[in-house]
Symmetry: C2
C-alpha cells in the first residue's frame, strides 16, 4: 500500500459537510414540492433522488437528479407531458431558470441556487424486462449502490473518480468514451478500495477481462474490451462505453501511480501550450499538417462528437485509400462555434500516374474489356494486366477540397449536421501557415499541444 495521505486529499476534493447538508436539504425540498403538486393535481407519480447525490459519491458542484416515476401502464405522451409539467412547476416555484432537453428521452433541467437539477420522467419498473428506456435503469442502479456501498467505500469512489478525471478517462459520454460514475462505484464494490482497483487494472486487466459481482456467469454475451455485468440487469455491460483506448490509458496511469504514487494524480495537470515548442516539434517532424475547420452544428454534445469522429475517420480512410499516408489525426471543438479536424500527413504528394490493376489474363472476356480501355498503357505483371493511368488527385489538398465540396461524388461519410455545416462553409488551413499568421486562439494551441503530447496526463 502506498503512503499517500488519502484523508487529506479527500478533505480537499470532497464537498464540505455544510455543502452536503445544503444539497441534501435542497433535494428534499424539491421532492416535497413535486409531491405536493402531484397530490394537488391528482397525478399518479412519485419522485426520487437518484445519481451521485443520492449515493454520496459526487465531486465538485453537485448535479441533482430527480426521477419522477410513473406506473408502467402510463402512456408515453402522458408521462412526458406530466413529467415536464411537474419539473417546470417546481422550478418556477423555486424561481429557477429552466431548459428542456432531449437525450434518448426528454427531460427538463433547472438552475436553482447555482445547482443544475434534472427532472426526468420515467417508468417505475420492478424488473429489467419491463425496461422502456435507458433512464429506467437509473433508479435500480441508485438503489443497488445505496444498499451496498458503505461510507468508507463512498470515499474510495470519490478518489477513483477524481483520479479518472485528472488522467482523462472519466465519463461514459461519447466525447470521452471512458468510465461512468456507476462503473466506478461497481469497481469499488468489487475491489473494495481505490488502490485495489488500480492494482488489479495494472496486473490483471486485458481485453475481455470481466467482473461479475452477482456471479450471473453471463460474460460470454459481451465482446467489449472490459465487461462489468450490471448487478441489476445481467444482460447489460456497464463498461460497454469504455473504449480500448481509455481502458489502456487507465491501466497505464494505474501502473504509473502505483510505481510512484503522488497526490498530484488527484489534481488536473497544468498543461501549458507554447507556440514555439509546437512550431518546433511540427517542423522537426517534417510532416504536413492540415486543419479543416467549420462551424459547430447546433446539436446536443452527445450527437456532436460522434458526428465529428465519423467525419474525421472517413477523411482518414479516403486519404489512405487514395495512396496518401496519415501520420495522425485528431478533432476538437469548443462546442459552441468552432470544430477543427487535424490531419497530419506523412505522404501528401504522389506522382501524376498510378497503377491500375486489371483482371488476371486467364479471364479472357475481362481481358478484352480491359484492353479495349487501356491497351496502349497496359503490361503484364505475373499473370495480371496492369496499366499506368493518370492519378486524379496527386495532392491531398485537391482531393480534400473535392470531397468536402462535391458531396455527390460520395467520397466521404459525414455526420448529417456536420455535413451541412461543412457544405455551408469550411476552411482548409496549413498548420504552419496558421501558426505563422497568429490567427489562432489559445484553445487551439492547447489542442495542438495535447495532440503532440498524447500521454502526458497519464504521468505525474
Amino acid at each position: 500500500m502506498t503512503k499517500i495521505d488519502y484523508k487529506k486529499i479527500l478533505e480537499e476534493i470532497k464537498p464540505s459537510k455544510s455543502e452536503i447538508n445544503k444539497v441534501k436539504s435542497l433535494s428534499n425540498k424539491l421532492i416535497s414540492i413535486i409531491n405536493q403538486i402531484t397530490i394537488d393535481e391528482n397525478i399518479n407519480a412519485e419522485t426520487v433522488l437518484v445519481g451521485s447525490v443520492a449515493k454520496n459519491t459526487w465531486l465538485g458542484k453537485a448535479d441533482i437528479d430527480l426521477f419522477i416515476k410513473f406506473p408502467l401502464n402510463t402512456s408515453p405522451d402522458y408521462l412526458k407531458e406530466k413529467g415536464l409539467h411537474l419539473g417546470y412547476k417546481c422550478i418556477k416555484k423555486m424561481n429557477g431558470k429552466y431548459e428542456c432537453r432531449y437525450a434518448s428521452h426528454p427531460y427538463i433541467t433547472g438552475l436553482i441556487d447555482g445547482h443544475e437539477i434534472d427532472f426526468v420522467p420515467c417508468y417505475n419498473i420492478k424488473h429489467p424486462k419491463e425496461l422502456k428506456s435507458a433512464v429506467d435503469r437509473t433508479i435500480p442502479h441508485t438503489k443497488y449502490v445505496k444498499k451496498n456501498l458503505n461510507h468508507q467505500q463512498a470515499d474510495e469512489v470519490i478518489l477513483l473518480k477524481q483520479f479518472m478525471k485528472s488522467i482523462g478517462t472519466y465519463g461514459s459520454e461519447f466525447k470521452v468514451g471512458g468510465f461512468a460514475g456507476y462503473l466506478c462505484e461497481l469497481l469499488i464494490l468489487h475491489y473494495n478500495s481505490f488502490e485495489q482497483v488500480l492494482e488489479s487494472a495494472s496486473t490483471e486487466w486485458k481485453p475481455g477481462y470481466h467482473i461479475d459481482l452477482i456471479e450471473y456467469d453471463n460474460s460470454p454475451l459481451f465482446n467489449e474490451p472490459l465487461v462489468v455485468i450490471d448487478p441489476v440487469d445481467k444482460n447489460r455491460n456497464v463498461a460497454a462505453a469504455v473504449s480500448l483506448q481509455k481502458m489502456s490509458e487507465f491501466v497505464a496511469a494505474s501502473r504509473n501511480y502505483l510505481k510512484k504514487p503522488s497526490t498530484l494524480y488527484f489534481y488536473f495537470k497544468d498543461v501549458t501550450a507554447h507556440l514555439n515548442s509546437i512550431k518546433k516539434e511540427f517542423t522537426k517532424r517534417g510532416t504536413k499538417t492540415l486543419l479543416l475547420s467549420f462551424k459547430t452544428p447546433d446539436v446536443p454534445i452527445d450527437a456532436l462528437y460522434p458526428q465529428i469522429r465519423k467525419t474525421e475517420k472517413s477523411i482518414v480512410n479516403l486519404m489512405e485509400r487514395k495512396g496518401f499516408k496519415i501520420f495522425g489525426s485528431d478533432s476538437w471543438s469548443d462546442e459552441k462555434k468552432l470544430v477543427i479536424i487535424l490531419l497530419e500527413f506523412s505522404i501528401w504528394k504522389l506522382p501524376k500516374i498510378k497503377k491500375h490493376y486489371g483482371p488476371q489474363l486467364w479471364f479472357k472476356d475481362d481481358q478484352e474489356k480491359y484492353l479495349k480501355k487501356y491497351k496502349d498503357k497496359a503490361w503484364i505483371e505475373g499473370d495480371r494486366w496492369v496499366a499506368a493511368v493518370e492519378r486524379e488527385y496527386p495532392e491531398v489538398e485537391s482531393l480534400l477540397e473535392v470531397s468536402l465540396t462535391d458531396i455527390k461524388i460520395g467520397y466521404l461519410r459525414f455526420g448529417k449536421h456536420v455535413k451541412n455545416e461543412i457544405l455551408k462553409e469550411h476552411k482548409l488551413t496549413d498548420l504552419m501557415e496558421l501558426l505563422e499568421s497568429n490567427k489562432y486562439n489559445n484553445l487551439v494551441l492547447t489542442f495542438l499541444h495535447t495532440y503532440l503530447n498524447k500521454s502526458e496526463i497519464l504521468w505525474r
Copy 2:
C-alpha cells in the same frame, strides 16, 4: 485456321537445303574424327549428334551439339579428362578455335567453319534413375523427338520457336525464363501444329495447366505455372523454367496473333527508342527514377542474370520495407561491361520521423522495456504503445548509398559476384540528369524504351 502463308515464312526462316547439307556433313565429319581418335587411343566412348541439328528443328546459324557417351562405370575425372581431350583434338584437327566452359558440367566449345560446336562428355544412361548430371538427359530427349516428330511437325516447331523468339518468350535460360527448344517440340508433338498450340494456350491454359504425352498421370507432383511432363523422365517438368510472366506473355501474344494473324509475328519487331519520347514519358509520370550501374562481373551468363535479379529484388524489398514505394524496377546488362538496375519510385522522400510500434500494453515487462527507451515520445494507440522516432533514411538516395557501401549492415542480399563489383565501384544516377547529360548509349535508351513499353512486342 488463319490465312497466313506458312510455307513462304518457312522458306525465309528455315535454313536452306544447302545449309542443311553443309551442317549435316560437318557434323558427320566431326563424329568420324572423334570416333577415329577413340579407336586410336583405346578410349571407350561413343559420340552422337544431339540437339536441334539432330532433330532438324534449328533456326538461324546452327549450333552443333556433340555428346560423347562414356559407360556408367567411368570415373568422373576420367570422363572429364578424356571428354575434353577428345573435343580438343577434334577442334585442332579441324583448325578451329576452342574455349572451355563450365555449366553444371564442363564442356569444350569450338568454332569451326563459322559454327559453334559443343563437345559434351556424358554418361550413357539407359534409364532416368541412372542420371548423373542434367546433360545426361539430352540424348534420350533427342532420341524421343527424332523417333516421334515427322517432317511436317519439325516445320511447325520452327514456326513456334520463331514466334516465341520474336515475342520474347523463347529460351529456358535464366535471362529469359521462357520456353526451351525441347519444350516447343513437345508442344508440337502434343498439339500437332503451331496454330493448335496457340489455340490451346489462348483458351485453355492457366496456372497449373498440365500436358502429359505419355499419360504418366504424374502431374500433381509439380507446382510450376505450366507442367509438361518429360516423356523420358516422368519426374521432371520440362516447363519448370517457364515463369508465370513468360507463360502469360505467350498466352497474350497467342490471342493477339489468332485475333489478327500477321506474318510480322515471325520477325523481330523494330523497336526504336527515341530520347525525346522517353524523357517526355518519365516527365509525364512524375515519378523519380534512379539507375544503379556497375561493372559486369566475370561469370557465365547463366550465373549473371540470377545474381542481378536477386540484387534488384532485394533493393526493391528494402525500399518498400523502409516506407518508400517502388512503381517499377528492371535490370539490364550488355553482358560485357555494364549492368544497370533501374528503380522507379512513386515515393522517394519521407518525413523525418516515423512511428515505432511497441508492445501491447498488457505485456507489462515489455511495456517497461519499451518505455525506458521511448517514454518521452510514446503514446497509446488502442492498446499498443507507439513512439515517434527519427527516421534514419528520409530519402532513397541515402538509404541506397548505405546499403550498397556498408555491407556489414546487412540490408541487401546480393549475388556474390555482383556484390564484389558493387563494392568495388558503382554509380547511382538520376535518370533525368543522365538523359540531360547525353552520357548514355543507344543500348541504354533501348532498355529504357523497353521498360516503358513492356508489352509492345506482344503485338504486331
